[in-house]
């Protein structure tokens, strides 16, 4: 009996050792210059942030559709007047030419502003969705994920901007990026926006972000998929 126990113990130790050694090592991505690790190119960075923004937008689309389907009776809101989104104060190009007219720095700045402006409201959205009984956990999880994605995306875009500055693509006309302000989701009338309005506004803004990023990419690194 003790012999078999010993064998089992030996086997376990062997397995553990094997496991330790066979751990998959991932190559760290160096943020600050090449020091022996794999450095993604600007094109790779752009691809990543664009994919990320696409996922974020599809999540917001899903949540918005759920809202419309289950909580609002009519599809076409007759006579409904939306309150302004809190991000309407941010000037964003509303067409292709306008977007192409903007300089890279300004475009990047717009993106970052938008993402920054949604940091807190998304958190609030998740909070209110989680507390309400109407939502199942799946929806509130989506909202949480959406918030995290927005946060990640912002970080990613900041990295891209940093890389561009390093590569000299961003001119010095703009003295650094102006600090994006965190904004409160307060509409003009001072009332807090409802969940639906938040979702509606965020869906639109995430679409904007995705489009702007694509334009930026094809302007800066036009090789792939442009």
């Amino acid at each position: 009996m003790s012999r078999s126990l010993k064998q089992v113990a030996v086997l376990l130790v062997a397995l553990l050792c094997l496991d330790l050694h066979s751990r998959v090592g991932s190559a760290p991505i160096c943020a600050h210059g090449p020091s022996g690790c794999h450095v993604p190119s600007l094109a790779d960075l752009f691809d990543r942030v664009i994919q990320h923004s696409a996922r974020m937008h599809s999540l917001s689309n899903d949540l918005h559709s759920e809202f419309e389907q289950y909580f609002l009776p009519s599809k076409n809101h007759i006579g409904k007047i939306y309150r302004k989104c809190h991000t309407s104060s941010i000037l964003t190009p509303n067409g292709k030419e306008n977007a192409q007219k903007l300089a890279r720095e300004e475009l990047t700045e717009v993106i970052l502003k938008l993402l920054m402006a949604w940091r807190d409201p998304l958190f609030q959205l998740h909070q209110s969705m989680a507390h309400q009984q109407d939502f199942n956990s799946f929806s509130s999880n989506k909202a949480l994920e959406m918030g995290d994605m927005a946060h990640e995306l912002r970080k990613g875009v900041e990295k891209v901007a940093e890389r561009m500055r390093v590569l000299g693509m961003l001119g010095n006309s703009v003295t650094g990026l102006s600090v994006a302000e965190a904004m409160l989701p307060i509409s003009d009338s001072g009332e807090a926006m409802s969940n639906y309005e938040l979702l509606y506004c965020f869906r639109r803004d995430s679409n904007k972000v995705q489009n702007y990023l694509k334009i930026l990419k094809c302007r800066i690194v036009p090789e792939h998929d442009c």
């Binding site: 409904k80 939306y82 509303n94």
Partner: protein
């Protein structure tokens, strides 16, 4: 129409009821490239009067109403918004107003955000080409719709294509992602296919399918045929292997498929009795008196038993083989069957063994010899196996290997350890009682009868061989005279007596009594003796029985034959060579027979 007349004015001019127009309805708004868009409406009933339609829109959070800038570009009942008038990410509140002389009607408003109503034009220049690289396939390629601006990244398009034959109902759909080509495999040869492509922006609606493009697959049957050839060859190969395997294992397969049929259980048949050897009692219970009718019995008789042995019988069998053979035959042959002919040599063997088993004692001794094979006429040769036969006191039994059948030369041999390879009539003689042999023989002779199973009559047992006694030491013991001279010859079944015994008589001399015949076949050689070195001494002239005059001097090459009636001297035809012989191969005898019994191992 008349139902509407109640609130309406009847005009004299038109002689009909007229009314204000019905509410128009906005059917859809679409943007092909996310830079312009068009809205279409459906006019209601015009009320009998010429009606005009106007589209008005209002931007989100603004009260300013604008009218549609372009009613023509997009056709009838449409409004086209050009680039200047199109703003993304802003809700348009659009209404259509129908106006005629009698009134107007406003449609329900529609909220539109241009970013979400994108439906591109169809892809262009769809080409399908057959490529014959490693199996023909079709490479479909196309171009993006002209209006979509993917270069600047404003729009991202995903493509999809579908393929079918003209007659098929269902399309095969394939997703091509963002690439502008696709390879379609697994299309049937010698058939014509149609291909269509469509696209979609990452958030938006699918475009219409392109016009079908036709492509004809070439005929590549030869390639398929070679595949069939390979398959055929492979299956033939497998069949061959299976056949060969079956062939190799055919015995076990046969055993499996056709298991040996057990013998019939005859009512009244007592197996134990049979085993004990009292065969007559066994059979007596089965015998119905008066049946079979004995009248005309002779007609049923077999004329004579003809025995021959073929070359195979001359083979020296290993005693082991013999026992195997006997065992096999034992299992396969049916003791209850009427087969009594000694062409089945092994049959007698088993009978002998059975007879032996009854005795029980010294069974091992006999088993050493294996079974003695039955010889031809000597169907009653089993007598040698009787329990009553002399047994070696020291356990060694000498047997007389007899390669029996009439043509077979007699051979005697001397065995030290008894292990005759092959003998038809085993004669197990005991060296210790050589003198007793003749008497034993006689005794055997007579004793055989009751102990036989009754198939064969003892008296008919002819043993053309003279007895040899085996002197283990090879010396000095006077060989007992061969008692009755025995000769190999054909025997005729005389009759079958009621005890189911075959009474045999020699063919050559119908008046002959079974006993004492020394008639021998003319052309066959008899084995005179086997010397210590396992040499067979043959007699050339077998006309007369070569009574053994077993010279004690067994080394003598020329065995002397003393016959009782010696008109012809025996001439040994084999000369013994010296030692080292025993395991030699076949020896050619003088008369042309090859005797392979010398291959017997001497034990």
């Amino acid at each position: 129409r008349f139902s509407r007349c109640d609130a309406l004015i009847y005009t004299m001019v038109l002689n009909d009821c007229v009314s204000a127009p019905d509410k128009p309805r906005l059917t859809s708004c679409r943007s092909p490239e996310k830079e312009t868009f068009t809205c279409w409406w459906e006019p209601g009933d015009d009320g009998g009067l010429p009606t005009t339609y106007a589209l008005y829109y209002r931007l989100e959070n603004s009260e300013t109403v604008y009218e549609c800038p372009d009613y023509r570009t997009a056709g009838e009942n449409s409004c086209f918004f050009n680039k200047n008038d199109t703003s993304l990410w802003i809700n348009y509140n659009i209404t259509v107003v129908a106006t005629n002389a009698l009134g107007k009607n406003i449609s329900d408003p529609v909220e539109v955000d241009v970013a979400y109503i994108v439906q591109p034009n169809t892809p262009e220049n769809v080409t399908a080409v057959v490529v014959d690289d490693q199996g023909p396939f079709v490479r479909v390629s196309w171009e993006k719709p002209r209006t979509a601006d993917t270069r600047s990244g404003w729009i991202t398009l995903l493509y999809q294509l579908r393929v079918k034959q003209e007659k098929d109902k269902e399309w095969e759909e394939y997703d091509a992602g963002m690439q502008k080509y696709y390879n379609v495999f697994s299309l049937h040869p010698d058939k014509e296919f149609m291909v269509q492509v469509r696209c979609k922006p990452d958030h938006g609606f699918w475009s219409e399918w392109t016009q079908p493009t036709y492509v004809k697959m070439p005929d590549y049957i030869p390639r398929e045929r070679s595949l069939w050839i390979i398959i055929t060859i492979f299956s033939i190969f497998i069949i061959l292997i299976l056949t060969w395997t079956l062939n190799v294992k055919r015995n076990s397969v046969k055993l499996c498929l056709l298991p040996p049929v057990p013998g019939p259980k005859i009512k009244g048949f007592d197996k134990q009795l049979l085993k004990s050897g009292k065969s007559e009692e066994v059979f007596s219970s089965l015998v119905i008196q008066g049946f079979p009718p004995t009248i005309g019995y002779d007609d049923l008789l077999v004329e004579y038993l003809e025995v021959y042995d073929n070359e195979e019988q001359e083979l020296v069998l290993d005693s082991k083989d013999l026992s195997e053979v006997c065992m096999k035959s034992k299992s396969l042959s049916d003791c209850d069957s009427g087969r009594g002919s000694c062409d089945s040599r092994t049959l007698l063997l088993e009978k002998c063994m059975e007879g032996r088993e009854g005795s029980g004692s010294d069974q091992h001794q006999y088993s050493q010899h294996g079974e003695t094979s039955c010889t031809s006429t000597e169907s009653s040769e089993c007598q040698g196996l009787e329990p009553g036969s002399p047994e070696s006191s020291d356990g060694r039994v000498k047997t007389w290997p007899v390669v029996f059948s009439s043509p077979q030369p007699h051979h005697h041999y001397q065995v030290e350890a008894v292990k005759p390879v092959y003998h038809s009539v085993p004669e197990i003689l005991n060296r210790s009682s050589p003198h007793a042999m003749p008497t034993n023989y006689h005794q055997l002779h007579h004793q055989d009868i009751p102990q036989q199973e009754g198939r064969f009559s003892k008296p008919a047992c002819r043993h053309s061989q003279s007895y040899n006694q085996f002197n283990l030491d090879g010396l000095d013991t006077p060989a007992p005279g061969v008692s009755p001279s025995r000769s190999l010859e054909y025997v005729e079944v005389q009759r079958v007596n009621p005890e189911n015994m075959l009474l045999l008589r020699p063919l050559s001399d119908p008046n002959r009594e079974p006993e004492g015949s020394d008639y021998a076949g003319e052309d066959y050689s008899k084995v005179k003796e086997v010397t210590s070195n396992n040499i067979l001494l043959l007699q050339r002239d077998t006309y007369h029985q070569c009574v053994d005059d077993y010279s004690q001097d067994l080394d003598s090459q020329a065995g002397q034959c003393t016959t009782q009636q010696p008109p012809h001297p025996c001439k040994p035809v084999i000369y013994q060579s010296n030692s080292g012989m025993p395991q030699e191969g076949m020896r050619v005898m003088g008369n042309g027979y090859v005797d392979s019994t010398v291959l017997m191992p001497s034990y």
